[in-house]
Amino acid sequence: MKNGKFALKTLTAALALTCSVSAIAEELHVYNWSDYIAEDTISRFQAQTGIKVTYDVYDSNEVLEAKLLAGRSGYDLVFPTALPFADRHIRANIYQPLDKSQLSNYDNIDKGLLNNLSAVDAGNQHVVPYMWGTTGIGINLKKVKEILGDDMPLDSWKLIFDPKIAAKLSSCGISLMDDPNEVFAAAHAYKGEDHTDFSKKSLDAAAKTVTATRTNIRYFHGSQYINDLANGDLCVAHGYSGDILQARARAEEANNGVEVAYLVPSEGAVVWTDVMAIPADAPNKDAAHKFINFLMQPDVIAPISNYVAYANANSAATELVDDAIKNDPGIYPPQQTRDKFITLKTATDKENRAMTRLWTRVKTGQ
């Protein structure tokens, strides 16, 4: 009898111990874009806070959105693009308002970016900007010059949307993003039309511009062009600035004679911001706040910019960013380039569906 009681006590003690241990080992689940963080960021955070980080990646906003809309994703921190994605999510009440008292580094964030974001997130309540970049054109410089000659200005959507020029480049390979928001905005910019007009007439006009060059497009994809540009399998790619700069770095590493250049078209290019947000059903909101605050430290975010070739949203970090990155006009563009930037507008769900279905038609030539 005594023995039995003792065994029970030990068991209770052991149980209590396991419980307290699991309470100490805090966990944080982060869901971010692929190739969007430095190699040692996570280990530094773990060493500093003792929080165990599970880090998963995605390569399209749509995949993230589907998980968030289904609910109970289990993630504590996500990195959607502000427009049109985070905008929609905020309106669908998917995100938790941030507790700014837990974000002591908040003042480091670029005031201009916060001001822009307040258009989708009133009072900057739900999201903090992480990185920003542009969607432009990546080219295989040597091959494109060989085909078009040295005099042709290359910083133009003509390379893709002028059927005569695109036809010359098509055998060498042109790719477009598989995203109607981006492609239609680019098509509108090329024609000097209003890209925020989602009426049927306006969408049909954009579709017509794309259809005119469709046979010159090898494929529509959001990330495949990184490898293909670097290997010389593609001459012109419509893509994200940082992705194309990564292709440039890979080609340099491979030393394969391919010279990749990133260009911001003079007719206008989409500028976008990726933000950090905490889902309302996140299991560990405190740890998520700690991680956001950690990423707002200049000595944490600057090495990330150096590694991923995107400009961060942290004005205090700029001086810590490598000169090669800071002075790259593709990453930290000069004012005259910034003047050409256009921002996307979020379509209503109905407009969005009409746009996506039109896009499927355009792509498949139906």
């Binding site: 009440n93 996506t356 139906q366």
Partner: protein, 301 residues
């Protein structure tokens, strides 16, 4: 009195009940969920569709059913064309698998005993590598600067690289390569069980080898051939990965369209309606096969 003493649940019912329970939980129930979502309305919320049950007060239940998704699928030719595109790809891929797989299965079934196992292993071996990696490998082979083009150019057969990747040809290569084992294995199982004395009898009666094949082997192998063909046709209908990785902009298939509706449009109801229609279309060949099998069994008995 005797009737009352019989146990309510017999052993037989229990054994038959297990697969039925399995099918109900893992097939029927999920399908009912899909069906339910397909008649709801999309909204911007979590989850992104409205509940059918709107109100329940004073014993009055208000349910709102939205048939608009099915109407849109019927009205808009895009979806019908995608279905036709999928049927075309599935049918042609199945045909290629038959033409390529039948001789393979036949050769293995008629190979000497000690050779059969190694040959079968060669068919199964690719499964040891992840399906995705194998499809990715085809990108490396088929691309403009890829292995195939380099080899052909080195041999002097072509001057400039053939454009295969991102065309329908690449999709067919990827699909036939991936699904060939699913065709070969059931057909092999049928062919290897065949009673070879039937062929001897046919030969004794003056039947030539080619006619023996057409009149004896082929009809006897039909159940295996049909099973293999279904194992190729049905999954290829809903195939998404291979056309996405190897195909170009021209490949319009129902799987990709479903992806677009679900992910790009956040229109779960329409995606569910598409899934429901795809299932109905897929049940038709299955029913045909069942009918054929039954006729076969009746003929045998």
């Amino acid at each position: 009195m005797k009737l009352l003493q019989r146990p309510v649940v017999t052993g037989r019912a229990l054994i038959i009940g297990v697969p039925w329970l399995w099918l109900s939980i893992f097939f029927l129930l999920p399908f009912l969920f899909v069906l339910k979502i397909s008649i709801s309305e999309p909204i911007l919320a979590q989850p992104p569709y409205m509940d059918l049950l709107r109100e329940f007060s004073d014993g009055l239940m208000t349910i709102k059913i939205n048939l608009g998704n099915y109407l849109l699928l019927l009205e808009d030719p895009l979806y019908f064309n995608a279905l036709l595109g999928s049927i075309e790809v599935a049918a042609l891929s199945t045909l290629f698998c038959v033409l390529l797989g039948y001789p393979m299965a036949y050769a293995i079934a008629r190979a000497p005993d000690h050779m059969r196992l190694p040959l079968l292993m060669l068919i199964i071996l690719p499964f040891w590598t992840s399906f995705l990696i194998r499809v990715y490998a085809w990108i490396g082979i088929l691309k403009n600067n890829g292995l195939l083009n380099q080899a052909l150019m080195w041999l002097g057969i072509i001057d400039s690289p053939l454009e295969i990747l991102h065309t329908p040809v690449a999709v067919y290569i990827g699909i036939v390569y991936s699904y060939l084992p699913f065709f070969v294995l059931p057909l092999y199982a049928t062919l290897v069980r065949m009673d070879l004395t039937l062929l001897e009898a046919a030969a004794d009666l003056g039947c030539r080898p080619w006619k023996q094949f057409v009149l004896v082997t082929l009809p006897l192998s039909l159940p295996g051939l049909m099973a293999g063909a279904m194992l190729v046709f049905i999954p290829v209908m809903g195939e998404f990965v291979i056309p996405d990785l190897l195909g170009g902009p021209n490949t319009l298939m129902i799987g990709k369209l479903m992806w677009t509706e679900f992910f790009s449009n956040k229109d779960w109801p329409l995606a569910s309606a598409l899934a429901a229609i795809l299932l109905i279309v897929l049940i038709i060949p299955f029913v045909i096969m069942r009918h054929y099998e039954q006729r076969n069994e009746e003929a045998n008995s």
